[in-house]
């Protein structure tokens, strides 16, 4: 059974999609904060990323260390094909459900 996505999972996947090559903990958190106005702790971002990883929706690789991070490596995330499908399915479900109730629900 293909797993459904929770709201946080959607937000995180969308953020990774937007960020492209530059998706790691810091940028994901920042993207969600600036666009969705949701201030998440890094902990919740990571919990979600870990869950997505376990479901096979994201993949990760380690980047280069930089001095502003105290010389520590980044862990970059990209969406897998399965992830993309799950996100599309979940977005479609939302849109379909909202369609036709009232114009204000579709485009807030």
């Amino acid at each position: 059974m293909p797993a459904n996505l929770g709201e946080l999972e959607q937000l995180v996947l969308l953020a990774i999609a937007r960020l492209g090559d530059d998706a790691y903990g810091v940028t994901v958190r920042k993207e969600i904060a600036s666009r969705a106005k949701r201030s998440l702790s890094l902990g919740s971002v990571y919990t979600t990323l870990t869950r997505l990883d376990a479901k096979g929706f994201v993949a990760s690789h380690l980047g280069e260390p930089t001095p502003e991070r105290g010389g520590r490596r980044k862990k970059h995330f990209v969406i897998t094909a399965a992830g993309r499908r799950a996100l599309q399915r979940s977005m479609l479900a939302i849109r379909t459900m909202a369609r036709g109730i009232d114009a204000s629900w579709e485009t807030p």
Binding site: G25, S41, D53, A59, R69, K74
Partner: protein, 887 residues
């Protein structure tokens, strides 16, 4: 901004780097640091950012390592990492404790009592015994005394001090000091302040200096220069509103003007005179009459040079002192010097009490632990099924032990937390109860080191009482565990529990013996004949200073006071004395007997000197043995007279020789002036009922060389003495409203206070013994109740086979009393060995007092019997049919 300031909090980073799974550690910490530097710091500031970092620590996904398959080569096993394990154990332990609220409450309260009481006592022990005094290199500060025969010590005269200062090379600074008091006027009311008169080097010796203004300098100590004073921080705040411009301003003390030159810091702890509110220079010179070598009323303290040891300094001072005494043979009775470290000297009286109390409270803690271990064992017995299943499913032995340890540590931690609340309350009670002589009272609190101690105790206790059930649980045979019903358990656990109860009883007996001995001493002390009648006797101290600037005025004031007090309704009689029994006053006077010249007058008797008004001896109801008391005719100018007491008479006049009519001198052994002994009175306890020092000599106040500027007033009331105080105060202030009246107390309360140290120990010992007894009883009860539950089937069979209810009752009671008896025997043996540590607190009772030992054994027997009875009755009521059917 420097690099360190904008870094994330190092401790939080450290914690995280240990909690995070290895695979996530680097990138997670990196992300946090990047957000910290690039987002939070610029927008909210470093402080807020550091706070944010700590909050992030709380939300960190410290179990994420378990569920990241892409990172792991080995398939994840739940509960594998050490952190996850501990968290799981903890979660399980919390659930378990929450499910058994009765058990948990009992265990937590028992532990809280034990840990709390121990922590409270330790908070008193710490600043007195462990912590160095709050001075730089406090171990270099030594007291310096003259050492008398019989290892007693005495203070030094100023001239001796001056010789030491001139000749010794071992000290950075030496200081002499005396007590004093001063009446501060200029505010709404005159205030009587305790002061300390010191050498200008005093603050150098302690190594603490004025926070505002300056400390004393050598020129402040020169007589007839403007007077100066240094204020304590408390006085500066309370009387002068913390005026920061106080330095240089004049204040009025005893009608003289003093310039304030400094204020001490708030942290300054003046252990040598804790009550002193201000300091003035000593201003002695060797030419002054009260600076003589035999005028031993100054305490001496010194700070060693860094490269000189206490032993070297003592050798040097000893040499100097031997030279001085050889040159001034008749001025010294001392045979050497004694130079203890200030801290040791200060705490030598309190130490035995504190050690005894610490010992007692540790016994209570041990009993509490034994009790909780018992509870845990009983529960472990019920849980043996659970452990068996765990083991059968593949749990290693260590894993089960860890689970049990987590539970006991959690229990100990909760108990410790509640215990700290108990300790805070306990410290308050302790300080309120503490005897006057307890040093460093202000430093007694639940502070960092004390909390660390509590933490150590909690850990120790948690591991100690967790290990016993853990070992039992894991030793159990798998087969046995599964075969047996949860009601029956391995015999080894029962043996352990029996042993625990035996040790509880033994420990309780030790405490009971201690408090029994103290109780009997206390009743002995208060049965002592003090030599005067304390009931219906009111005492207070009156001051004559300020504008009463000469002896004539002072003495007229005393006369007026006497007349006024006599006419207050309800007053039967009254008198005045320069030193009041049981009040802490101590004034000895060298006395020479005309017909008994001695080779060294410094060795002559030194009785308590009472300068009294006519009527004092009568008002106190002191027994007149022979001769006469003082009358109004024994005044200045009349022939000098004196009255001595029985012990003085007996010690210095051989049997058959009558002291009455003989002459003594308080001044010169050859020239007099001479006082004729006109009467002999009964001995009066001056220091405390248990202190046997009691030689005394009485002289009319008006015949003494100078007027005392403070006298104690004793008033014999017709009825309730305390109720007279307001009327008497009004009568005195009607004469002169500027003279302070202090130390208002009934004689009975003075006597109680003079025994405060023993009472302090007694109250605490009684409390500890009571707790110990209650815990031991609970222990006996718990074990028997457990036995009855476990043996229900056996009991059922027995009664089915014809055992009567009485037989069953007897069987259970016998088991309980057997444990108690064994414990009692061991306890009595231990008490025999240990009770001598209380010797310094006992009075009129031997540490091996048989009545005490028999009494506490009976008491314990009674309590133990009561504790046995409840489970025994339950056993006796067992219905054989029901239990057998249940099987």
């Amino acid at each position: 901004m420097n690099e360190r300031q904008i870094a994330p909090p190092a401790l939080a980073v450290w914690i995280l780097s240990h909690l995070l799974p290895h695979a996530e550690r680097d990138n997670y910490l990196g992300d946090l640091e990047e957000i910290f530097r690039n987002e939070i710091c610029p927008s909210r500031g470093v402080k807020a950012a550091r706070r944010w970092y700590w909050l992030e620590l709380l939300r960190a996904p410290i179990t994420i390592g378990d569920r990241a398959p892409s990172e792991q080569l080995v398939p994840p096993i739940r509960g594998d990492g050490p952190v996850t394990n501990t968290l799981n154990d903890l979660r399980f332990a919390v659930r378990l404790l929450a499910r058994r609220p009765g058990f948990t409450t009992l265990a937590v309260l028992t532990l809280a009592l034990g840990i709390g009481a121990t922590t409270a006592i330790f908070s008193a022990v710490y600043p007195i015994v462990v912590e160095p005094l709050p001075y730089p290199h406090a171990d270099r500060v030594l007291m310096i005394y003259e050492r008398e025969k019989k290892n007693e010590t005495s203070f030094v005269g100023f001239t001796t001090f001056a010789d030491f200062v001139r000749d010794s090379k071992s000290f950075e600074a030496l200081a002499a000091m005396g007590q004093g008091s001063a009446t501060l006027t200029g505010g709404d009311q005159p205030a009587l302040l305790e002061s300390q008169r010191v050498s200008p080097t005093y603050f150098d010796v302690l190594g603490v200096h004025a926070a505002l203004g300056r400390s004393f300098r050598a020129e402040d100590d020169i007589r007839n220069t403007p007077r100066v004073t240094i204020l304590s921080n408390a006085l500066w705040r309370s009387r002068f509103g913390g005026d920061s411009a106080i330095v240089g301003k004049p204040i009025v003390l005893d009608a003289n003007q003093y310039i304030v030159i400094g204020v001490m810091p708030p942290t300054f702890e003046n252990v040598l005179a804790p009550g002193a509110q201000l300091w003035t220079p000593l201003r002695y010179e060797v030419s002054l009459p009260w600076a003589c070598r035999s005028c031993r009323h100054l305490r001496m303290v010194g700070r060693l040079k860094p490269d000189v040891s206490a032993a070297q300094a003592t050798r040097e001072m000893e040499t100097i002192f031997q030279r001085i005494t050889k040159d001034h043979l008749t001025d010294y009775s001392a045979i050497g010097v004694a130079m203890p470290m200030l801290q040791d000297d200060l705490t030598k009286d309190a130490k035995p009490v504190l050690y005894a109390l610490l010992g007692a409270v540790l016994l209570v803690l041990l009993i509490a632990c034994a009790n909780v271990t018992n509870l845990l064992l009983a529960r472990a017995a019920q849980r043996s099924g659970e452990f068996t299943i765990r083991a059968a499913l593949g749990a290693e032995r260590g894993r089960v032990v860890r689970q049990l340890l987590t539970e006991s540590l959690l229990l100990a931690a909760i108990g410790g937390t509640v215990g700290i609340l108990v300790a805070v309350a306990g410290v308050k009670a302790l300080v309120a109860l503490s005897p006057a002589g307890l040093p460093r009272l202000a430093a007694i609190s639940v502070n960092g080191p004390v909390l660390l101690f509590a933490l150590a105790i909690v850990t120790l206790v948690g591991v100690a009482f967790g290990l016993v059930p853990a070992i039992h649980a894991t030793r159990a045979d798998l087969h046995e565990g599964i075969k047996q019903g949860s009601r029956r358990t391995a015999g080894s656990s029962r043996v352990t529990r029996g042993a625990l109860v035996i040790s509880e009883v033994a420990l309780a007996i030790v405490l009971l013996v201690g408090s029994g001995l103290l109780l009997r001493s206390s009743s002995r002390v208060f049965a002592v004949n003090n030599g005067f009648e304390a009931s219906n006797l009111l005492t207070m101290q009156i001051q004559a200073g300020g504008k009463l600037s000469n002896d004539t005025l002072v003495r007229r004031f005393y006369e007026q006071v006497s007349d006024a007090v006599k006419s207050v309704p309800g007053v039967e009689s009254m008198g005045l004395t320069n030193q009041l029994p049981m009040s802490g006053d101590y004034d000895g006077q060298g006395v020479h007997i005309q017909n008994h010249p001695s080779p060294n007058p410094a060795d002559d008797p030194s009785p308590f000197r009472y300068s009294v008004s006519p009527g004092y001896i009568e008002a106190m109801h002191i027994k007149l043995v022979r001769g006469r008391g003082f009358t109004a005719q024994d005044k200045a100018g009349a022939p000098g007279v004196a009255i001595i007491n029985e012990s003085f008479a007996k010690k210095y006049w051989p049997a058959g020789e009558d002291p009455i009519g003989q002459r003594v001198s308080a001044n010169d052994p050859v020239k007099g002036p001479w006082l004729e002994i006109v009467g002999i009175v009964g001995d009066v306890k001056q220091l405390s009922p248990s202190n046997s020092k009691s030689d005394g000599i009485y002289m009319p106040e008006t015949q003494w060389g100078y007027a005392n500027n403070q006298m104690s007033l004793v008033v014999r009331a017709k009825g309730d003495a305390a109720a007279l105080a307001p009327a008497i105060r009004r009568a005195i202030w009607a004469i002169d409203k500027d003279q302070p009246i202090v130390r208002v107390a009934t004689a009975e309360s003075l006597i109680a206070k003079s025994e405060a140290q023993r009472r302090f120990a007694l109250v605490l010992f009684e409390a500890f013994a009571f707790v110990a007894l209650a815990l031991a009883a609970a222990g006996i009860y718990g074990v028997l109740a457990g036995t009855v539950t476990e043996r229900l089937r056996e009991i059922g069979v027995r009664s089915a086979l014809g055992a009567s209810a009485g037989d069953i009752l007897g069987m259970i009671v016998k088991q309980g009393l057997g444990l108690a008896a064994l414990g009692a025997v061991l306890g009595l043996i231990a008490a025999f060995g240990l009770s001598h540590v209380l010797t310094s607190l006992l009075f009129g009772v031997s540490p091996l007092d048989p009545a005490t030992y028999v009494g506490v054994t009976c008491l314990l027997g009674l309590v133990a019997f009561g504790a046995c009875l409840v489970p025994a009755l339950r056993a006796a009521r067992v219905d054989p049919m029901e239990t057998l059917r249940a099987e």
